[in-house]
Symmetry: D2
Subunit: 364 residues, 4 copies
């Protein structure tokens, strides 16, 4: 089932960019979880275009909970969220069926759906579909917070500028949840914005790297084959439009290390929750493996990064085909386009991560 | 179902490193596919330790087809393959339950399975389980070759040494299938071996990067949410022991590119199979996206890389815990261990890739 | 995933009886299928209360297609249908949480959902949820008709009165699709109505047996283990509220037969589509097995029956518990209740059958 | 995945009747469950031919646990059981591919598997495959017994003779586990044997009804849509060869009842485990609904029946086709065939029931 993900907590996405509504159904939530509409609205705001570096299309993202909530709490039955589409300018996209945009799914989608897909605004492929994902993610994040699990994502790189690395995770994650621009060092954030604006001014776009930390996980989640923690997360993360790579811990840098550098040695840490206990908590001295050994969580923070390619829609002219005539043509993409989705995509990455992590925690 | 993967062609793995047999069940193969036991044996040989840089444990890997094959062809019913375990020295592993090896699943597995897992040789977590995966992969590779789809993997990096990049894919993939050491440039292969031996001589281990190419795929396989081609492949690839990152096309390098560099422009190519046809085949001028747009194949070669961390078992002493006493201890891992699994892991990567690709092709 | 059914064509149900809307998401439909809103409306009418023997609650069932249809055809992406709830009188149900109705899910649902489920009108357990099922079924029935597969259900028994058996299936199925009261013999239908009214007048309710025929199926659908045609259909059919039994062909009557009576002998029938062909179509002389041998369709009409228990909501007083106090109490169910759901349930049985059959046809 | 069943505890069947081995893989068992090989052997004995009324083929059913058990307990990783095939006389079956036996899957299997299936002994369709099912079931039954859940099945009818109904379930289930012929009243069992022998003497075969009781289940298992307790059980039960109907509680008899007869009224029962507690256990006065309300267990014993058609293989001549020539022919089935599988099928029904019930209990 392509549009459903999750074993115990299953999320189904539906809708097209220019249809009446988009939405999702979440099945498998425990009954009794508090559902805070303000928190959902807050997470949807983090997904909004962030000032100058994002598209000017206004997305206030009102939402409507259709089912699965009664008196402010989950009922345990499927929770459906609807988000109406508004401010739609379909005229911008009319010829996408014949003149596919490079880097987009116009061509591949036309082949898969045999020409019947709704082409307006990218249809079901649109990044717009991440809005219900983020709304669902807000519910997942709240459910995790009740269990002491916290998630945050920052732009480790954006338009060639690096953020500072994660430090004190408790403080960093709390700050990120409030930060409209997802960086740990605001000055580097300003440099990122400037670099993105420079790309946009050149009719071009920029990419980056999103880094996520998850704290508070117990050891032993996941499986050796095939539902490794890394595999499950990567499966979901590659649904975020523009993600082209996923790495855990030191990731690709591990390829050039030696085992003596890469292994994380075990030690005991006094348990803050029970300081007088003779035995502590098993931790590792380093975290080169990003909190995962043998496909299972080891109790250390889960750390991973995604590679976000630069936005495919650019103002500069590009070569493409007219599929109706077979002739080469030059495409100039008009309309409003975000020159860099990295800042907004962090809200999606948080949501997708929260989904996978909650699903892992619900696995018997 | 943790140990089963695949929607239409489902593979279930079972067994422990030091049990009587390990094996797999493949369900969903079309009836009538030829099953060539010599080809299976050949692929199992590619997974064997390659001379000096691999463990001295001998693995001739005899195998036994239990079901699903009749008169040399698949029946369409579940195909079970058994591989007996031999030459087992369990004494080497007796205290893994109390003294976990850094980088391994000893600790995380003990938590997940509450201390009941078979600890001998890593039990169900052992890389030994990749033998039935490779045997199954041989059947998948043959089924794909019948449909004009070819797969090959080389060590793009190993112990810090780079192979040459893919060139003529038809020739490269054919050469790789015969090459015991998976490089495109044999001289660089020699340098890799030397670098691995140097690491081993220092009581240490090495990692690398495996790069795979898949040719002959039609456009339109995959889905926008959640069963993207990238997501499905990554899900499976992270089951290969030691994989800590997966990237498609230019992967993490895309993060610093601009859209005008990263987009692959469309053009028509005369169709070799129908040279007089007025219309050709839709291709892209470049392949920065690794053959995937919007989560779907675009008809270009599928290209991706995995990061392989250095082997966790090293001869040098490491700090760890005695979980029974809570005391810090020093661990020296005896026994035979492969200082670098990169060369052997390519057979596993081919197998896993073949599984996912065949499953995608069988999706209605 | 509890609320999702189907391997290739997956249906997800959501909503509560007294929530703002109920609905469903269908994933896996082929692109390009015509979607006729009048046909959907017609099938929803067949599910409406049929005059005197049904509840007086008016259910005009307007519906709204949210996604998955573009220019009158399926896009191949998820198709969401919403049906608003109207004319809701929640006051009738307020104390169901403490005083469970015999025969209903009030008690079992309270245990499963730990008291958090929406109790109004039965919440997610309500027969109201069959409205989106029937709407989805209309799309499935149309997709099947394009492939020459036809489905129809009649009340083989209702309130103790038997309908005539199936005869000329082509004519019978066509007549059933137009018949508001699902019988093959209208006189027996009148007798059924009278018997239901007699039960209702006594403050009581009635049940019956629904028999379904499916024509036009090829041989070879299904599987020996575990996705038998019988098993898949039964799995889905037991979701129809009040179904307590499912039998295929002669069903329970086979238990007392001998093999020589129960076996359906094979013969060739001249193929109407190719009358001059030397070879015909393989058929069986009889159809005691209801079109299924070894879990697979054999090309004969698929025939099965469901047992529908009498409506649980009755006007007569019943003994039950006050769960809050633990005291025995007498319950009188007020409100509008259908004294016999058999006539309306046939639309649901058609829909569920169409879903399973389409899913089987889409299996590679 | 056709040959896999179960959401949390997944069972995969493989093998053909005349292949080297048949077997199964169980995935999702909790670690630490005791595995008693004598108990498995006992359950396999209950599936053996019971004296004169069964086939003379000897089936001592040795078995071999390949994986998933360590020091007598489950490891939590996949448990594979192999059962070698012996005493095979393939010659009896050579022409099944061209002359299909009425009532069997020879024709439908040939269509589904395009003529490539192993025809010997029915291949993968053979009732022989129920041996690994019963072996797996022994493990499930033991896991359930540890949790106070007990299962037993009797021949409620066989060859037209009725057993007495269930009475004291604790005593009845205990007796059935020891009884080689599964009846509650041994005299009626003798009458059944005589009736079966009479059918066999006439070159014919007999069927019956198997009735199962499950005690000790908590309320609240199952789901309203689609994974109802009835639907899940029926899905699995129809895999038992020859089952053509499934009914719960009063089943088809409910069709002619009125609601006031069919509803099970609630009352409190003093809790035997806590006799001084002021509040007791919620029970129903009657059990017409077989322990299920709204698709969920209600804490009463789960009661259901299956219709077992008479054995398809009979000695008397039958009409069939020669598929190679298209000519009508007469078939006389030689070889050893069980004139009535009802007594043996009870071991399979227990196993299948135990699987579904354990899976329900493991659902979060």
């Amino acid at each position: 089932m392509n549009n459903t993900f999750g074993t115990h907590v299953a999320l189904t996405l539906f809708g097209e960019s220019h249809g009446p509504e988009i939405g999702c159904v979440i099945d498998g939530l425990r009954p009794g979880l508090r559902v805070d509409e303000d928190h959902i609205a807050h997470r949807l705001v983090l997904r909004r275009p962030a000032g100058a570096i994002s598209t000017a299309r206004v997305e206030p993202d009102p939402f409507h909970i259709v089912s699965g909530v009664w008196q402010g709490r989950t009922t345990g039955t499927p929770l459906c969220i609807l988000i109406p589409n508004r401010d739609v300018k379909s005229g911008d996209y009319v010829n996408l069926k014949t003149i596919p945009r490079p880097g987009h799914a116009d061509y591949t989608g036309a082949v898969k759906y045999k020409g019947f897909a709704d082409p307006r605004g990218g249809g079901h492929f649109s990044g717009r579909l991440t809005a219900p994902l983020v709304a669902a993610g807000a519910i997942f994040l709240a459910a995790l917070a009740e269990r002491g699990v916290h998630i945050g994502t920052h732009a480790a790189r954006c338009a060639g500028i690096a953020d500072r690395p994660f430090g004190d995770l408790a403080a960093d994650l709390e700050a990120l949840d409030r930060a409209p621009f997802p960086v740990l060092d605001p000055e580097r954030g300003e440099a990122m914005r400037a670099a993105v604006l420079a790309a946009a001014a050149a009719g071009d776009s920029a990419g980056g790297v999103l880094e996520t930390a998850v704290t508070g996980l117990p050891a032993g989640l996941g499986a050796p084959w095939f539902d490794t923690v890394e595999g499950l997360l990567a499966h979901a993360l590659f649904s975020i439009p523009a993600v082209k790579g996923v790495e855990f811990g030191d990731g690709f840098a591990l390829a050039d290390m030696r085992g003596s550098e890469a292994n994380d040695c075990f030690r005991l840490e006094p348990d803050a929750a029970a300081p007088s206990a003779p035995r502590g908590r098993v931790v590792t001295e380093t975290n080169h493996n990003g909190g995962v050994n043998g496909g299972l969580t080891n109790g250390m923070p889960l750390i991973f990064r995604t590679a976000i390619k630069p936005t495919s829609s650019i103002a500069a002219p590009q070569r493409t085909l007219n599929l109706a005539t077979g002739e080469q043509t030059e495409l100039r993409i008009a309309g409003r386009h975000d020159p860099c989705i990295v800042p907004r995509a962090r809200a999606v990455q948080d949501a997708v991560t929260a989904h996978v992590v909650l699903d892992l925690l619900e696995t018997p």
